[in-house]
């Protein structure tokens, strides 16, 4: 079986008019880390919730290892592991008790689950805290505990929803290491959502950029960067005028976007083209005040396809509250 996850025209409409996920189709191959990248409210979590069978699609279908997510939900649930966005571990219980609870929900016999729980706690380096209540854990520890819980049933497919939400940079990097280590250890296929670009770049084999419920582009991180067709030159000018046309006529310039007075220019051979642009502008009497030249990053890919860099919170009140609780606990 090569295609582990397969979605065809998957759609979710809330309250009959809010289209959260709009006819998306994609497939994830065996052993891949597949990333869903997109701004807040793009439909990432809704997609994951459909795949993990807690939300029924309005239209379309999807299957995991050949099992339909609606008709064979029970089979799907046995095969997958889920690490949700929120910290779902019970604060009043210890880390160990939480893992055993998860194991019980999968019906794993105690003699096996006890061994596995210790093994997993060792792997995420929580063994010495196993008998401490989760309320004493830090954000990073909680995240690791969630990872361990999600792996108790040795899932074939692991779903990670914003695995590093609210964590500081060090903890985030450490979490990536755990994810890589776990993947190697258990040889799983991983489906993850994130809005951290460097996270997608560091972890994912393939990425789908999703916005307004639609997949805009899919590819490996380097494919996506290459698709931008060259380097990015950003310049600002002193004068308050639109000089897009002047820049566009410079040799090797492929595209110009005016973003509030600063120009994002796509060009091949950026280091040669940049001086030509300055020259062209000076001839017309404009003064360049800033210039930067970058080889494309995933960030550029992202901005290229989703347009804006800051997104209004398009979340429901409840999601927002849940996120706030998660963030608060992460900081605790």
């Amino acid at each position: 079986m090569n295609e582990v996850i397969k979605a065809e025209g998957l759609t979710k409409i809330f309250n009959k008019n809010l289209i959260a996920v709009d006819h998306i189709s994609f497939s994830v191959k065996d052993g891949e880390i597949f990333g869903f990248l997109g701004p807040n409210g793009a439909g990432k979590t809704t997609t994951i919730n459909m795949l993990i069978t807690i939300l029924k699609p309005t239209e379309g279908k999807a299957s995991i290892l050949g099992y339909d997510i609606v008709k064979q939900a029970h089979e799907v649930r046995k095969l997958i592991g889920v690490v949700p966005q929120e910290y779902t571990a019970d604060e009043d219980l210890t880390g160990y008790e939480n893992i055993i609870l998860c194991a019980d929900l999968y019906g794993i016999p105690r003699e096996i689950s006890k061994k596995r729980a210790i093994e997993l706690l060792e792997l995420v380096e929580l063994k010495e805290f196993k008998d401490k209540k989760v309320e004493t854990y830090s954000g990073g520890m909680r995240r690791r505990l969630e990872l361990a819980c999600g792996l108790i049933n040795r899932p074939k497919v692991l779903f990670l929803d914003e695995p590093t939400l609210g964590l500081d940079v060090q903890t985030r990097t450490a979490t990536w290491e755990y994810i890589k280590k776990l993947k190697e250890e258990y040889n799983m296929t991983i489906f993850m959502t994130t809005h951290y670009l460097e996270e997608a770049d560091a972890l994912c084999d393939r990425i789908a950029i999703i916005d307004h419920g639609k997949i805009i582009v899919t590819g490996t991180p380097s494919e996506l960067k290459d698709s931008l067709g060259g380097d990015i030159i950003t310049i600002s000018i002193k004068e308050n005028a639109d000089v897009s046309e002047i820049i566009r006529n410079v040799e090797n310039v492929k595209d110009v976007k005016n973003e509030n007075g600063s120009y994002r220019i796509k060009a091949i051979y950026g280091e040669v083209t940049a001086p030509l642009i300055i020259e062209a502008l000076r001839k017309r009497g404009y003064t360049v005040t800033r210039l930067s030249l970058t080889e494309p990053t995933l960030n550029d890919v992202y901005l290229e396809y989703t347009g804006r860099s800051i997104r209004d919170m398009e979340e429901s009140k409840e999601d927002f509250r849940a996120r706030r609780i998660t963030l608060r606990r992460a900081r605790a």
Partner: protein
């Protein structure tokens, strides 16, 4: 390597795991546990002891009554004297004696027991059973908000286990609290009837179980749809008062106005309270006990069907 498909997550296994979680949460919070015990203790101490209904019949209640000497003219008695005087002191003494004799009879007729404390302590048990079962289903609001419910739903555990774990947990708590209150009440002077045996306790538990199942499943269905804790909380405080007072919890129904009696007759609390009284402090009347149990069963079955259906619909939507 063994395949994960081998494990069959059974309903009972999941049910026990989730129930155990709730109970652990509860037992690990000693302050909450203490409050659960303190609350009925305070109620019993204050209400049961302060509403000293027997005291009304004590001689001191008559202390300021104005009693005059009674003069009986001699001719009414066919006596050759002018008049007979019965001094007020004699009348007063007689009256007081009679009054305290009446006390026992009045209490027996109105409350069925001689002391109000025993009557009220049992009412207390059903009140606590009611509030505990209503509140304990509410934890699902948090489970949902913190994402725990979603995580559980993504596992192969039976959805029925999620619902029954909440109901079972409510019942366990109610039974635990009822036991504590009854023991405390006994220490504080609750008088058991001659028909009481330890076996009757099982009957008490059965009655509590029926009420708990009914209430907790309906409240679960209600809470599962609420995004905020405040809504079900407000609802509980709205209905506990009327349910408590329009019943025999603290006072006999027979003395209430007709319209309250109608409410009290359909109020499950009335039947729970009567069942527990029959089994503990009253001279056991089998036929009224059977009626109590029939009503409680109807209540439990109806409400749990409604509650479980609604919750099930929500969880599998």
């Amino acid at each position: 390597m063994s395949s994960i498909n081998e494990y069959r997550p059974s309903l009972l296994r999941g049910l026990w795991a989730l129930t155990l979680r709730e109970l652990k949460k509860w037992l690990k919070d000693p302050i909450m546990l203490l409050m659960f015990i303190l609350q009925p203790l305070i109620w019993m101490g204050l209400l049961g002891k302060s509403m000293n209904i027997q005291g009304i019949f004590s001689s001191s209640s008559l202390s300021r009554i104005q009693i005059h000497d009674i003069e009986i003219p001699g001719k009414f008695l066919n006596l050759p004297i002018d008049k007979v005087i019965i001094p007020s002191a004699v009348i007063s003494q007689l009256l007081q004696q009679m009054f305290s004799n009446i006390s026992t009879t009045v209490m027996q007729n109105v409350f069925g027991v001689v002391d109000y404390f025993s009557y009220m302590a049992v009412g207390m048990v059903s009140m606590i059973v009611m509030t505990t079962t209503m509140f304990s289903g509410m934890s699902i609001v948090w489970d949902r908000r913190l994402g725990f419910l979603d995580k559980v739903l993504s596992t192969p555990v039976s959805r029925a286990a999620i619902i029954f774990a909440k109901i079972l947990n409510a019942t366990f708590r109610a039974i635990f609290q009822a036991t504590v209150i009854l023991i405390l009440a006994y220490i504080l002077g609750l008088q058991l009837s001659q028909t009481f045996t330890l076996f009757n306790i099982l009957g008490v538990y059965a009655a509590i179980f029926l009420l708990s199942v009914g209430f907790s499943s309906v409240f679960l269905a209600f809470s599962i749809r609420s995004t905020r804790m405040e809504r079900p909380m407000q609802f509980v405080s709205l209905i506990t008062m009327p349910l408590m007072f329009a019943s025999n919890t603290f006072f006999p129904i027979s003395l209430m106005p007709e319209w309250i009696q109608i409410i009290a007759r359909v109020n499950p609390l009335t039947y729970l309270t009567d069942a527990i009284r029959q089994l503990t402090i009253l001279q056991l009347n089998i036929s009224s006990l059977i009626i109590d149990f029939i009503f409680l069963s109807i209540f439990a079955v109806t409400l749990s069907i409604i509650g479980i259906t609604l919750s099930w619909k929500y969880l599998t939507k």
